[in-house]
Symmetry: C2
Subunit: 186 residues, 2 copies
């Protein structure tokens, strides 16, 4: 039954480590939906190419135009077409989105936390297009994400992994928590 589906909603500030957890989930055979992929798809449809600027613009514009559940609704639609019993949704950013996901299954929120300074160092090393070049740039991005209500999702998370040690420790902890979430019947 669709209503018994379990949705593990992955959340966290930029650079906290969501992508690493999503990769581990994939390697464990879990289906991962990325809120970011939905945005990238929209950009491709609209522009025919991808750029960080366009992705950032569409991410906020979609929510402004169609409401805070705009992106979640697209994920829900895709989810209804498949039959996975447990899925991970990466990049949940507001309680409105959580509310949307609750309409199609049991939601568990897993937050990844990392201090601003650790996230800055990580993003600086990663240096992906659009990643902050200064601490002030990170703060600006943080505030923009928080304005969507991301802080509320983190504060009310059912599970929290603190990413403040080595990458290996973090991966191990993430795997442990995901296994626990898979095993739990509730």
């Amino acid at each position: 039954m669709v209503s018994m589906r379990k949705l593990i909603c992955l959340t966290g500030m930029p650079g906290a480590g969501k992508t690493v957890v999503a990769e581990i989930a994939r390697s464990m055979g879990l289906k991962v939906y990325s809120m970011g992929d939905v945005v990238r798809e929209e950009v491709l449809k609209e522009k025919g190419y991808l750029s960080w600027e366009e992705i950032k613009r569409v991410m906020f514009e979609l929510r402004q135009k169609e409401g805070p559940k705009a992106i979640a609704k697209r994920v829900t639609k895709a989810l209804m077409r498949d039959t996975w019993e447990i899925v991970v949704i990466e990049g949940v950013r507001s309680l409105d989105e959580i509310e949307e996901f609750k309409t199609i299954g049991k939601v568990v929120v897993l937050a990844i936390h990392s201090s601003p300074i650790d996230r800055y160092i990580r993003l600086k090393n990663r240096a992906r297009e659009g990643d902050p070049k200064s601490f002030e740039e990170l703060q600006e991005r943080d505030f923009k994400e928080l304005s969507l209500g991301l802080g509320n999702v983190i504060a009310l998370a059912d599970y929290m992994i603190v990413n403040d040690g080595t990458l290996e420790d973090f991966k191990e902890e993430a795997k442990k928590v995901l296994l626990e979430l898979i095993k739990r019947g509730e």
Copy 2:
């Protein structure tokens, strides 16, 4: 010098475990200022007695009347009168308050996280006056606190302790983190 003071700002949702950490800090000889005490003092001054209803009312009213830094400013004023080099401030609820504290020292934010269900069980067992009697009551209180911006403070915390095991484990972890914060020169 006053400007070199270190302020450990303790934050977290209701029932996360802030009071336990504050108690440990006191037992380690640290001076603890409580944002709640400031509110209680105001209620006593105004009413001559304490009640949960009045405390809750004044907590929100003070911030509404005098702005989001109202309570933080009273703590700052008290802090300026003493000479402690490291202090713990319990119950910080917004980035505005953090901003106020930054005017008198180096701020480190320590957040305590616990899942809504764990917090509910804890508060139900504690059954202090004003504690939620149903999960819905807890959610209502959570949303009220989040409306002050508490989620943003938690999401941007420099240190995070997850309180999801035994009380003993939690106390040990809190002690370890506090010791690290005391030792760190920065």
